[in-house]
Symmetry: C2
Subunit: 115 residues, 2 copies
């Protein structure tokens, strides 16, 4: 038995795709917040690297070199993704590790899909 779906926000979890019925104001606010967290090239690359890593998890120490940015900048972007519910963070000794939250990207994708 597994629990694989952790919706990022109530608004992302609750609603029909936006092509099916007009979004209410609060639903639109929630989805816009989620999309804003994703709408940055560095954050997309970071979430993608984590997702493509073994176990969909990566050490922060392995995330700076691929994107070519400083540790503080990468930490900021990882915090935005964690606050938005796309990544989860766990500390192990010196380094934080980040894992993809199962179902979070799918919740957003579902809202954008017309089928």
């Amino acid at each position: 038995m597994s629990t694989t779906t952790l919706p990022i926000t109530d608004s992302a979890a609750c609603c029909a795709p936006l092509t099916r019925e007009a979004l209410g104001a609060s639903q639109a606010d929630g989805l816009a917040r989620s999309l804003k967290a994703l709408a940055d090239p560095t954050r997309l690359r970071l979430i993608s690297i984590v997702a493509a890593s073994e176990g969909q998890e990566a050490c922060a120490c392995d995330l700076t070199a691929p994107v070519g940015l400083s540790q503080p900048t990468v930490s900021h972007h990882l915090k935005v993704l964690t606050d938005a519910g796309f990544l989860s963070r766990s500390q192990r000794g010196t380094w934080a590790h980040f894992a993809l939250v199962p179902g979070a990207l799918d919740s957003v994708a579902r809202l954008l899909t017309s089928a």
Copy 2:
């Protein structure tokens, strides 16, 4: 026979979901641009109203009241969505009409979906 897929950008059209392999820099740029165009509550409501309208098309004259904003502000948001390839615009007499571009939202959704 129908052609229902008009990918918004090459980057959105070409690539595997971001959870499958690490996104390259240019692919991340393209997807971030598309997500930025969507990441606004008013724009999400506008695209949703158009998509839920008959024939997935609406007159600009019917789009100001539902979002409670001025015509120039709504026109700006519609232009952002049109420039990003999510809506198409056609002039009929006095008013512009906006239609959902088939497949454009789905292209973005596909990149975010893990399945």
